[in-house]
Amino acid sequence: MLPEEVPMAHQRFRPIKTGLYDKDQAIGRDMCLAVRAGNLVFLRGQTGFTLDGCFTGFGDAAAQADQAMCNVKILLEETGARMEHICKITTCITDRAFHEPVHAVIGRHLGDIAPVGTSLIVNGLALPEMLVEIGIDAVIPA
């Protein structure tokens, strides 16, 4: 997939309507799922939403984490990065009980890749059914 043709320095991938995540008050303005600024790659925090906007893994944090990590791989590759370019992974969960299953899934996707990691247990994510959100910072080696 080619980046959006926009006349600006940073490449922006997959514009979306945030109303998708905000059912009651559709905003109808675009955000996007990934930005590449030089060799830095920033992603929207990934959840159980597929990149097509279907929510998967109701009540199943591990399944949501698996979907999120599948999304991460696709988005990184679209920006020209690879999974091994992940530098930092920020994991937000809504209940400590999800810590083990979520980190097991993330570990399976990361394999030998050893990024910086930070984990938070938060009161909530963008929608109540979201149990986990995975934030990614990646740097493509020069």
Binding site: V6, M8, A9, H10, R12, P15, T18, Y21, D22, D24, Q25, I27, R29, D30, M31, C32, L33, A34, V35, A37, G38, N39, L40, F42, L43, R44, G45, H85, C87, K88, I89, T90, C92, R96, H99, A114, P115, V116, G117, T118, S119, L120, I121, V122, N123, G124, L125, A126, P128, E133, G135, D137, V139, I140, P141, A142
Partner: protein
């Protein structure tokens, strides 16, 4: 997981905590903070960096009762560094016994350009002053990297507006973001990621309605977190913007 990674020159330090025994008290949190900043210094040094390379910190505590104690430690340990900061109160951290966790972004070649420096004692947090002493700034420019302090309903002259109104707070926060980016020679078109924190899910729609349209011309990835609290109880939302000069 590793705690320091050098890549493309930048140093990312994440999830540093130290759950020393001592219970669930401000004193215990302060003790943990000392160990966390020991670890920060050691890990920066091991990666060839120094404290003055630190651009941004995100301070995560599990109870507002720990804030003064933990921030007093931070103020002393980072004296003269003047990072930009975002402070969160969350339900829990990676280590179930941790009361404090730190993320930091550093760039070699410091000290970096730090704009609108301030001392914590000279500005209010929300409507009240807080006793801890620390030095911060509003913008760090490290090469092409631009880091902003997490912005709230506090205007840049220190006036808090929008009590009880997350949308009004978000409008002030985004006005600040635009001003601070301009200070660094950047615009919203240089933004690369946005995180919106709210203290209640009900604040999400009003906050996003004030934040998202600002990015209509140059969309960015948005992450949203509902947290237990921010720097003061009356602060209902905070927006964190990362930018990269083209």
């Amino acid at each position: 997981m590793r705690v320091v990674l050098a890549s493309g020159g930048a140093l990312l330090l994440g999830g540093i905590s130290s759950a020393a025994p001592g219970g669930n008290t401000p004193d215990a949190a302060a003790g943990q903070a000392e160990a966390v900043f020991d670890a920060l210094e050691a890990r920066l040094a091991a990666a060839g960096g120094a404290l003055h390379d630190v651009c941004k910190i995100t301070m995560q505590i599990t109870d507002r009762a720990f804030r003064q104690a933990v921030y007093a430690v931070m103020g002393r340990r980072l004296l003269g560094v003047r990072p930009v900061s975002t402070g969160l109160i969350v339900n829990g951290l990676d280590d179930p016994h941790a009361l404090f966790q730190l993320d930091a972004w550093a760039a070699p070649g410091g000290p970096h350009e730090r704009l609108r420096s301030y001392r914590s004692t000279s500005v209010p947090y929300g409507t009240t002053h807080q006793p801890f002493v620390a030095e911060f700034c509003m913008v760090v420019k490290a090469g092409r990297d631009v880091f902003l302090r997490g912005q709230t309903g506090m205007s840049l002259d220190g006036t808090f507006t929008g009590a009880g109104d997350p949308g009004a707070q978000a409008r002030v926060a985004m006005d600040n973001v635009e001003t601070l980016l301009a200070d660094a020679g950047a615009t919203l078109a240089d933004a690369v990621h946005v995180t919106v924190y709210v203290t209640d899910r009900a604040w999400l729609s009003p906050a996003l309605r004030a934040v998202v349209p600002r990015f209509a011309a140059s969309p960015v990835p948005l992450s949203v977190l509902v947290v237990k609290g921010l720097a003061a109880p009356e602060i209902l939302m905070e927006v964190d913007v990362r930018a990269q000069l083209g």
